[in-house]
């Protein structure tokens, strides 16, 4: 399927490049709608792959790439369930997310995340599943999960461990602070910086370069350099579910959902 338009995203193939556009109001929160569309994309990758050298993942939403997991949906869904069913429900969701993100991580074509604005939590984790991150100067990256009594659950920590130094990861995770694109580039997280609003253009230029290379060689090189940390990813799901079972987490989610705080997105 060379093009598709869903509730939360769409994709379009043109001349060796697939553009996957996230477009789910308000800020590409990752809940069921986004997950189902990502699963459709993963299923379509089989037919897209032979003719795709590069895939650009970017956002149509004004505020940024993605604000992360849909915490409102998570809270309201969990609130209806018993404690036991809540944990098994969240585990099921995480396993589906991991399957989708792992497939994107291992895709035989080069994946480029073009990031602007907020790239938080689950949104940051989607960007980390990509091979290359291009970010405009106004992009911000964060893992604010600790303020909810959780750790990132969509594969973020294993992927950061794969790519970056532990001291930097500790700073991000244990303070929950957001960092700007320049800082992200200085530590090697962001490959290229773009002027405001120019991340997609630069991602397209990068994709046009990638298209020139032999597909078999490109896929072999990527597989060699980019191991998928499956064991750590499974362990992350287990830790997340253990933490999710604690009453403090539902209380923190409730507080976020009901917040009239001027800055609910800040840790």
């Amino acid at each position: 399927m060379k093009s598709f338009s869903g509730k939360a995203l769409r994709w379009e193939w043109r001349e060796g490049v697939t553009e996957l556009t996230l477009d789910h109001a308000p800020a590409n929160e990752i809940g069921l709608a986004m997950l189902e569309d990502l699963e459709r994309f993963v299923a379509a990758m089989v037919s897209l792959a032979p003719d795709t050298a590069a895939c650009i993942v970017h956002s149509e939403r004004k505020h940024g790439f993605s604000a992360g997991a849909d915490l409102r949906e998570l809270y309201h869904a969990a609130a209806k369930l018993s404690e036991k069913d809540r944990v098994s429900g969240v585990r099921n969701f995480l396993e589906r997310i991991h399957a989708a993100f792992n497939a994107i991580d291992a895709a035989p074509f080069t994946t480029i995340a073009a990031v602007h604005g907020v790239c938080f939590g689950g949104g940051f984790e989607l960007a980390l599943a990509c091979d290359i991150i291009v970010a405009d100067k106004m992009a911000r990256f964060a893992f604010p999960e600790l303020r909810l009594g959780l750790i990132p659950g969509f594969g973020g920590i294993p992927r950061l461990k794969r790519d970056l130094g532990n001291a930097f990861i500790r700073d991000l995770l244990l303070t929950g602070r957001s960092i700007n694109a320049a800082r992200a580039q200085s530590v090697g997280l962001v490959a290229q910086l773009a002027a405001e609003g120019e991340a997609l253009r630069i991602a397209r230029a990068t994709a046009a370069q990638v298209v020139k290379f032999d597909g078999v060689t490109r896929a072999a090189a990527k597989k060699f350099i980019k191991p998928i940390p499956y064991e750590d990813l499974r362990r992350e799901i287990d830790i997340f579910c253990e933490l999710f079972a604690r009453p403090a987490v539902m209380a923190a989610l409730k507080k976020f959902v009901e917040s009239t705080d001027a800055m609910p997105y800040l840790p």
């Binding site: 106004m138 911000r140 602070r177 800055m263």
Partner: protein, 80 residues
């Protein structure tokens, strides 16, 4: 090295320019949420602009609970 007054003025000028508020209409003691009409995601945008302009990093938790330009400028000043 900038003085706090200079830093404060630069914060006001930057906010005025990027959030389309008339130059000179902002005062150090103003609440930036109310005067600029911004939400939390736009606050993050302002944080990025301030960091890029002053060449610093300003962790979000330094801004938590801060709503006036003068206090924001003092947080920036301590990182110059």
């Amino acid at each position: 090295m900038r003085t706090l007054e200079q830093t404060t003025q630069e914060v006001l000028d930057l906010a005025s320019k990027h959030f389309n508020v008339p130059a000179g209409s902002l005062a150090p003691e103003d609440d930036f949420f109310k005067k600029l009409g911004i939400d939390s995601l736009q606050t993050l945008e302002m944080l990025s602009r301030l960091e890029n302009h002053f060449g610093i990093e300003l962790p979000d938790y330094e801004v938590q609970g801060v709503s006036d330009f003068r206090t924001l400028a003092s947080r920036i000043q301590s990182r110059l």
